[in-house]
Symmetry: C2
Subunit: 271 residues, 2 copies
């Protein structure tokens, strides 16, 4: 059991920000990554469609006999976590909301937290509910950022990119005006925009990377359940569209290192 | 046969710019529209994936017994037209490349034509080949515009929208510098950006709306083959994601009038 891989999925490349942290925390673990590059983005689709796609992703990852699945996708975690767990059966599924909300509730000093995510994530209210359950006195300001995923998946993330600058100001001005001292990056694509966001909000605002928070939750689960790998493993990367966005080269941007493996094609509609 | 509908499909909303022209040219015709809103955009995906999606769209439209199919999608027309025809069997399929190229070759006075499209369309070289076959002496400058579709599908098309302004300048500066007097809008989403593009390039540049060119080709085919509807028909609109982008309200933006019909959900992966 211990030497089975950890499954990680996302709508596209964003979940690699979670993989990056998992590799730091548990370098021995094997990871099976699935990026749904044939159907990205998720965050502007309906809940019904997101549930269908997420359930297929879970069934695909289960074929590898994974010991645990990380839903490293803000949209999947906020709209389809229960359905993901149902599809996973006895395999535990860890999303990004719980860890990121806990980290944000701990980080804030003034009790004012901003949350950004896809339109689907913000519409779900999932972060607000979790934060309120942790600290009912907290003030929350949410903002949907519909163009962040397409922009980042097109390889644009530089803080001086004019499109990035305009969108950051447009989407985050309400959060800045409300004096939030902590911001949840509620989509695993957003850590790539960290520099741009930080420059706009100012260095004093804590940015909570939901991919990293999920990786910490996964590591905690693995340790608490004595599921650590006994020997160094190997990672594998699957996508539903083999060619798109030059996955391998863009992946390096998300992972912070060369992907170091072949990227394979999965026929996800079959699952 | 004559009172059968005309099938029209696109990756999302763009094909409605073709529907708008079809309704003007042949108000009696019934139209079955399919927008693949569950898998939009196409233009940043691989050819293999585009072929799979387009073949499913064709098989779906065939279930309505349509008399003709318009591939009102630049990406489908440039990367998967032969495969679309194969899937359609004895139903004729008309794409956007032929009509738009002919209209552009007729419109240019200085023999310099710009072509814009999705990365997949521009990478295919389909417009260049068609234009060169019509007029070998023509100079062609192409530019891929990867963010136009996500921006337009998010409802941003106003010429004063700062994101639209920056992207138009970024994508079209080479075409402007090269003195093209004619520009093919090689994706059916782009006519919504007509004002922004025209303001940047100047009013002297002819903009060729590929959706309109395809509608003219369809009308010509219908007339030449005596396939006109004998009585006023009804249109139906299908999407693969029912909720996305508030289809009905955004559709009005593309159609230039209220959609005036229910939008139904199709389970496109089954076809």
């Amino acid at each position: 059991m211990n030497d089975r891989a950890i499954g990680v999925f996302d709508s596209g490349l964003g979940g690699l920000t979670c993989v990056k942290e998992l590799k730091k925390l548990m370098p021995n673990e094997s990871i099976i990554y699935f990026g749904d590059t044939g159907r990205v983005p998720y965050g502007t689709r309906s809940r019904e469609t997101i549930i269908k796609y997420v359930s297929q992703n879970i069934r695909f990852l289960k074929t590898f006999g994974v010991k645990l699945i990380a839903a490293a996708c803000g949209t999947a975690s906020t709209l389809a976590l229960e359905e993901a767990k149902a599809a996973a059966g006895d395999i535990p599924v860890i999303g990004v909301v719980e860890g990121a909300s806990e980290d944000a509730a701990r980080a804030t000093k003034n009790g004012r937290i901003g949350v950004i995510g896809t339109p689907a994530t913000i519409g779900s209210g999932a972060y607000e509910r979790k934060l309120k359950s942790l600290r009912p006195d907290i003030y929350i300001k949410s903002a949907a950022c519909p163009l962040f995923v397409p922009v980042v998946e097109n390889g644009r993330a530089d803080k001086d990119d004019p499109i990035v600058k305009i969108l950051v100001r447009e989407y985050l001005s309400g959060i800045k005006d409300d004096g939030c001292d902590t911001l949840i990056l509620g989509c695993t694509h957003y850590p790539l925009l960290r520099d741009a966001i930080s420059e706009y909000l100012g260095g004093g605002v804590s940015l909570i990377d939901s991919g990293r928070s999920a990786a910490l939750k996964v590591a905690q689960y693995v340790l608490e359940n004595s599921l650590e790998a006994h020997k160094p493993g190997q990672s594998q990367f699957y996508v539903s569209d083999a060619n798109v966005y030059n996955f391998s080269s863009l992946a390096g941007m998300f992972l912070g290192e060369d992907i170091g493996a072949d990227v394979l094609k999965a026929d996800i509609e079959k699952y």
